[in-house]
């Protein structure tokens, strides 16, 4: 099947509009910043209205105008959201809560659907993974090496 690729800046506002109309919208995950659970171009993300936000929720936010990011809420206080990608070891995004556009409600991971509100695996992962932040760098390196088989070029045998 042909793939239609559209710039985020053009596509995501339309996705957000459909969510505001009350739909759930499914899009393909892109990027590595939500590893290890969500993998680029393999997993599908289903978004809904961003009601009842809490620390640990994964959201789609318009961090600055036209710049959309889907990461996990790390802190939520005084109308300000701090979020960080599960797969990121440095860098957070900080913005007003009004910039939250959608909330992740389902993940289709390797073809299996996880309803985030009820999935025990997701809840367990969401509780544990952020706590492992001090050693995240090493866990992600292992993940890349072992699960993804992405050995650094210099380690490859001739």
């Amino acid at each position: 099947m042909d793939k239609l690729t559209v710039e985020n800046e053009i596509f995501l506002p339309q996705v957000v509009q459909l969510i505001r109309e009350g739909h759930h919208v499914t899009i393909m995950a892109r990027g590595n910043s939500m590893r290890p659970f969500i993998e680029d171009s393999r997993d599908k993300l289903v978004f809904g209205m961003p009601d009842q936000l809490a620390v640990g929720d994964v959201i789609l936010a318009e961090v600055t105008k036209g710049h959309f990011v889907c990461h996990r809420i790390e802190r939520l206080a005084g109308g300000v959201v701090t979020m960080r990608g599960d797969g990121n070891v440095v860098g957070t995004e900080v913005f007003p809560v009004e910039n939250v556009r959608a909330k992740l409600v389902q993940v289709v991971r390797k073809g299996k659907t996880y309803m985030l509100a009820t999935s025990r695996i997701w809840k367990c992962y969401s509780a544990v993974w952020p706590k492992l932040f001090p050693v995240r760098r090493y866990l992600l390196a292992l993940y890349r090496l072992i699960w993804m088989g992405q050995w650094p070029e210099r380690w490859k045998r001739k």
Partner: protein, 88 residues
């Protein structure tokens, strides 16, 4: 034949795409993109009962095309729509 319920033609980012509605879910990982003439035909017959011949006549009325070419294009389009399960 007619276009099945649950499909909607929308313009997204300048492309005519058919979106499948679940109850409330719009899945952009499975969209069918239509070119301009296919989108024209879709709009004309959405919600109506139509035949292959109707589509040929619609094409002939809108575009400067030989009837044989229009018939061939309509046949190819309907084969695709049927394969994708868009019409019944």
């Amino acid at each position: 034949m007619k276009i099945k319920n649950g499909f909607e033609l929308r313009e997204v980012c300048g492309e005519n795409v058919i979106i499948a509605h679940g109850v409330d879910n719009i899945d952009f990982t499975k969209v069918i993109s239509l070119n301009e003439s296919a989108a024209f035909l879709w709009k004309q017959v959405a919600g109506l009962e139509f035949s292959e011949e109707d589509l040929v006549q619609l094409l002939l009325g809108e575009y400067e095309v030989e009837e044989s070419q229009a018939a061939e294009d309509v046949k190819a389009l309907l084969t695709q729509w049927k394969a994708e399960g868009l019409v019944e």
